[in-house]
């Protein structure tokens, strides 16, 4: 080996890197184990989507039937509607969700009173833990035509309550609102943590230079958060074909008057297969969603890389 070349930059050996970062790596271990056990180990099982699964033969002993299991989704004639709804809802969730979360995180950061900050954070976080079943009951008790809280209020004020559960166009708004109500607190904490982790000397320097609050947010906080926003966005977009079954199923249920604007892939699959329990077919749908999600993530990542390699995931 020519030793003169090594004078340049030498990549540190793997052992050395590991040794240097052992604390960090140790901290990552639980997450690595989690993803290995729950995401990587079951992966070969995706093969079930190509078989006619027999319980007594196991996944790999069951007869291979190619793409047969994928057929029903495509021949239903519903796929366009389902894709449209699933993707639009997810886009609304991702975009509006992130904007709101960012806003609240920044607002929280500007609040000085610690007690107020803590209480607000907890209150905002709370809806995240309420199950979709309860949420749907809440919504029903607010909005139902005969006895709903809002209906009674409107009536007592002399107004005419619309039959919300018969208005397909109202539901995209309701579902997005409910989702924001449930998720904003959680996302806010993530962004808030990122803000807290910022180098405070920059802020102090800006303050000394006479930057006002808005300027500090515009020129320091937001640009610092940019990588976090992009990474979270890239993560979220991988699930763009996956709907939140619990939320949609509980809010809409059997009410087919609303399906046109509320039917997503998951609720459709449930309705089709609730009596046949075909694990292979349902896995086929899941695999389809994941594979499409994978390509979208790859494309989005390539796009980000093209714009600014710094921000890309890999």
């Amino acid at each position: 080996m020519d030793k003169t070349k090594a004078v340049k930059y030498q990549r540190p050996s793997l052992a050395r890197t590991l040794n240097q970062n052992k604390t960090l790596i140790l901290m990552c271990v639980p997450a690595i184990i989690f993803f290995f056990v729950f995401s990587y180990m079951p992966m070969p099982g995706a093969y079930i989507a190509f078989t006619n699964f027999q319980y007594n033969k196991g996944i790999f002993g069951s007869p291979f039937i190619g793409l047969q299991n994928f057929k029903f989704l495509f021949m239903s004639g519903q796929l366009t509607l389902l894709l449209r709804n699933t993707i639009l809802y997810n886009l609304a969730f991702i975009i509006l969700g992130n904007v709101l979360q960012l806003t609240f995180a920044i607002l929280l950061n500007e609040v000085q009173s610690k007690a107020y900050k803590k209480t607000t954070q907890s209150m905002m976080f709370l809806p995240y833990f309420i199950s979709d079943v309860l949420v749907s009951l809440l919504v029903y008790n607010l909005l139902n035509y005969d006895f709903g809280f809002i209906s009674n209020l409107v009536r007592n004020l002399g107004g005419e309550m619309p039959k919300v559960y018969q208005m397909p166009n109202a539901w995209p708004i309701i579902i997005v609102l409910v989702n924001l109500w449930k998720g904003t607190g959680y996302g806010t904490v993530v962004y808030f943590a990122a803000i807290t982790g910022m180098d405070s000397s920059m802020m102090e320097a800006a303050q000394i230079d006479g930057a006002n609050g808005f300027q500090r947010i515009r020129y320091i906080t937001l640009p610092t958060l940019k990588p976090t926003v992009i990474i979270l966005f890239l993560f979220a977009i991988g699930g763009i074909l996956k709907g939140n079954f619990g939320l949609f199923y509980n809010l809409v249920g059997a009410n087919s008057m609303l399906f046109n604007t509320t039917d997503i892939i998951e609720t459709y699959v449930y309705r089709s297969m609730m009596n046949s329990f075909n694990f292979s077919q349902s896995s086929a749908v899941g695999l389809f969603q994941s594979v499409v999600g994978f390509f979208i993530v790859m494309a989005a990542n390539a796009f980000v890389k093209h714009l600014d390699p710094e921000y890309a995931l890999f």
């Binding site: 006619n52 027999q54 319980y55 029903f72 749907s136 039959k163 059997a254 309705r271 009596n275 329990f277």
Partner: protein
Amino acid sequence: MKKLIALLMMLMLVVCALPAMAEVDTSEHVVITYLVTGDIPNNRTDEVLGKINEILTEKVNAELAIQWIEWTDWTTKYNLALATQSGDIDLIGTATDWLNAWPNIQKGAFLPLTEEMLQTYAPNTWAQVPAENWELCKYNGEIYLMPEDNYAQWTNHGFLYRGDWAKEAGLENGVNSWEELQVYFQYIKDNKADVIPWDANGNGSSYAPQMAGGWQTSHTPNIYIEGIGVDLFYGNSKDDPYTLSTYYVEGDELVNFATEMKEWADAGYWRTDVLNYTGDVMTEMKEGKTGAHQHHTQTWTGERTNMEEKQPGSDVGFFWFGKEQSNVIALNITHGAMAVAMTSQNPERALMVYDLMRNDPEIYRLMQYGIEGDMYTLDENGYIVRPEGWDDSTMGVSMNFWWGRNDQLELRSAKTDWEAVDALYAEYDAVKVNYPYGRVVFDLSSIQMYLDNLSNVYNTYMPRITFGMVDDPAAYVAEFRQQLKAAGIDICMEEIQKQINAAYGL
């Protein structure tokens, strides 16, 4: 004479089985796990199970452990437990109508039971079930199920209604038709403020099919065919059972149903947002907030007494679906059945345990009623009497043994209104026919794709038809039928007809 011969044969079978039984090696103590649907009980089940296990240990050196499939998402969890079994379960409660027994057999979830096995390890069950009933438990010539065929029960659906209000409405003999049901609902609407005639829970996935099927069997002689997964397939009538009915693809009856239900919806017999309502109708009825509950006969037999306590004088009656046409089918013997898990490590001992559960008086009564003298006593008629202040959910025993109940060992509750119940059972017995499709085990693999799409169409259109949530019933039914055609109902009907023909040699 016939009975005598049957008895002798039974005795002989038992005697023949005895020596074989003696040879069974039970030296190793084993735990038999029993998979059952139901919520984990908070009553004295564990304590009673301990007593049962003492007897089981003594008799067959085994003990029973229960694995509950709780009601939340039970269909998914149940089928998943079967699919992922790895020797962790032995006995499985199943059913051909509500627990997918045939598809699970086809997918290899259960162990085939040879006649020798049954004769050796479950001799009493083997002797008790007649040969023609074992025939109905076979798939490809092998027995997979031990049927609950010695237990009289009725789970056909209908409406529980209040007899006192029906009388007020001028229905002296109660509700006996859909027309009278309408009179009853209208009376409540007009005369009982704050009472919803029928506060239907339209959000459930089974509610609309039950109601729709109820109308159909009340207005046509059609007979429901089990095990297909979508409620679109019926036989014509008891005289012509093996021809598929075209109710869902043509004819006026479905349009009449849609029209009538729209009328009912517009009249306000149920709440406007019925399709999203998830309330507990029976509880509301007990509180006097609603006038009817759509459920099955067995619910009525119990709730009639409970309602008398909560709403004295309510005299709850039962209007059963099919009454106008005398169209009632006796329960299929595999509405409850026990199977042995494919991967069971101790199938022999599992069968021995089941045989005792089903036939041993001491174990059976512990399992079904609890400890005698402590949890119940018997009155002079031999009826079961619970102690003062009895609450089954905290003081009782729940083994949910719906897979081999035995009328010879059953005890009647002193609380139930047997006069009314026996009268209704006699009414059923006078007109019932046996389930005509017991011999067909459908192989749906070639049409499953179409059935799944039909399931979507059915579950999209039928709830709205059933609860009258449509503007133009006739047009909506026409659209429904067109969608069914597009999803392949003709292909499915042809295939199902073919398989019925094959099974009955037509």
